[in-house]
């Protein structure tokens, strides 16, 4: 597998905050990767550095094997519409027209059908679009560009459930026909969980988890039962969260549990509950206390 994005030891500090702390990630070609994490976890900074909108503090960034900074060859193959994207003072159709000039694989008919599906008024000034409509415009540009590297940053802020479903359907259908590398940052984790092939989870500028989505889905679990039995079972595993009520305890681990593990848990009369991506995110990037408990 070739990596579209290859990041090693990437650190970015701002005056009073470390946005990215020694991040090393490989994003494989022609996959849909979910960039998960809380607000301020470093997802947007990561995407901005990958697309050369922001500068790396230290570390190396390679996109299509090259440094993206001031690299027209790389940037032309990339589209990145931000969550807080600012537009010039023009209309929806102007934004679409401008995007069609700069993206070599632009599909005008696809753009047109997306605008129709999202019921976006082509002649309306972008300034006067609602939050959801602006997201729909960003999605339209991001998808119709068919860029080899497509970055979507919280693409559905303000979109209603119907429009979000439309976005998932169109994304998946178009991705199947035109495979490309898609990086999708989000905190609506469970909604997109089925779309994702890989998951990269950020917390306070660090990569908490970088795994195939299937492994993550089948992976983590919450084990409950008597304290001694549970502690015995989770010994040596990556513990994310503990909660005790009296003599019973409930421990969440991120490890993959195989058949033997499950049989052992059954023998110990322990209750196993699979962990959803969303729960995993909540547990892994909860509060400082949680992290210290696992240290």
């Amino acid at each position: 597998m070739t990596s579209t994005i290859s990041v090693t030891g990437l650190t970015r500090r701002y005056r009073n905050q470390t946005a990215l702390d020694d991040v090393s990630v490989e994003i494989e070609e022609n996959t849909i990767t979910g960039l998960l994490g809380r607000n301020g976890a470093g997802k947007s900074t990561f995407m901005r550095i990958v697309t050369a909108q922001e500068f790396a503090g230290s570390g190396t960034v390679r996109v299509f094997g090259e440094d993206p900074m001031e690299n027209d060859g790389v940037l032309r193959r990339t589209v990145f519409v931000r969550e807080d994207q600012q537009f010039p003072d023009f209309k929806v159709r102007h934004a679409i027209r401008a995007a069609s000039w700069f993206h070599p694989n632009w599909d005008a008919r696809f753009a047109d059908s997306l605008l129709t599906d999202f019921e976006l008024p082509r002649d309306r000034a972008i300034k006067r679009l609602s939050r959801g409509m602006r997201s729909a415009l960003s999605i339209t540009i991001g998808l119709a560009a068919r860029a080899e590297l497509t970055l979507l940053d919280e693409p559905y802020a303000g979109l209603d459930a119907v429009a979000r479903q439309l976005f998932y359907d169109r994304l998946l259908a178009d991705y199947t026909e035109h495979p490309r590398t898609i990086l999708l940052s989000t905190h609506l984790v469970d909604e997109v969980a089925d779309l994702l092939e890989r998951v990269v989870m950020f917390d306070r500028g660090r990569v908490l988890l970088d795994a195939a989505a299937d492994d993550v889905r089948g992976g983590g679990a919450t084990i409950s039962g008597p304290v001694t039995a549970v502690e015995d079972f989770v010994a040596g595993r990556r513990v994310l969260h503990r909660r005790s009520i009296g003599s019973r305890t409930s421990v969440t681990v991120s490890d993959y549990l195989d058949a033997a593990d499950r049989a052992r848990a059954a023998a110990l009369h322990l209750k196993l509950e699979p962990l959803s991506l969303q729960q995993l995110l909540v547990h892994t990037s909860g509060g400082p206390a949680d992290l210290e408990a696992t240290a």
Binding site: V79, F90, W101, H103
Partner: protein, 229 residues
């Protein structure tokens, strides 16, 4: 269509900023001047209005706004800083060429109609816009380009270092001018400076302004190199 031309066309999608406002406001200024001169014809025959300065100001202002308004989406479209900047300079060349041509044409009409029938000198300014049509075009072009790159640099400084940076940028310019004045005073060179200024013809002035334009364009590019959105 090369990428730079596309960047220029991208800017021009916002017609209001680069065409309607500069052209419209200058036209308005001209009509106001014309009306005033019709109502109160100047007693001594020839009068100068100075209203043309409106156009130069209205190319400085949109240039300052360009960075705020069109750079973020330019990045979203996959433009590098270099391509965005050079494409914006191409816009400057295009706009300055077009506006300078219009000024030259209107000046010819003004001359032919005896100042629109009222001795109005709107497009004729003594010494600067007084000579051959080509000289009017050239000087106009340079002054328009100067206003544009100066505005562009302001916008870039603001994008990179916000308001504090902008204030320091202005302060630095004042310090540079003050420093130059002190050096001239200290060396007792004001007489020489006056002599130089008095021997200057309009082509020399145009050349000096062109050099300043180039310096400003290079400064803007240096600022652009590390701009983020």
């Amino acid at each position: 269509m090369t990428t730079l031309v596309k960047v220029t066309r991208y800017h021009l999608l916002d017609r209001l900023q680069y065409v309607v406002l500069p052209g419209g406001i200058t036209l308005f200024s001209f009509l106001v001047n014309l009306t005033v001169f019709k109502m109160f014809p100047p007693p001594d025959g020839d009068s100068y209005s100075g209203g043309l300065v409106t156009l130069y100001i209205w190319l400085f202002i949109p240039a300052t706004l360009t960075v705020t308004k069109s750079l973020p989406f330019g990045f979203a479209l996959g433009l590098s800083r270099r391509v965005y900047y050079l494409g914006t300079l191409l816009l400057m060349v295009g706009l300055s060429t077009a506006y300078a041509l219009i000024i030259t044409a209107l000046q010819a009409i003004e001359r032919a109609t005896g100042g629109w029938g009222t001795s109005l000198h709107f497009f004729r300014i003594p010494w600067i816009f007084d000579g051959a049509p080509f000289q009017t075009w050239l000087t106009s072009f340079v002054v328009l380009a100067l206003g544009f790159v100066y505005g562009l640099w302001f916008g870039l400084v603001h994008r990179r270092w916000q308001v504090v940076g902008l204030l320091l940028f202005i302060a630095a310019q004042v310090v540079v001018l003050l420093g130059a004045a002190m050096i001239v005073t200290g060396a007792g060179l004001w007489g020489k400076v006056g002599e130089f200024a008095s021997t200057l013809n309009v082509y020399d002035l145009t050349a000096v302004l062109a050099a300043v334009t180039v310096v400003l364009a290079v400064g803007g590019f240096a600022t652009m190199r590390r701009v983020t959105v």
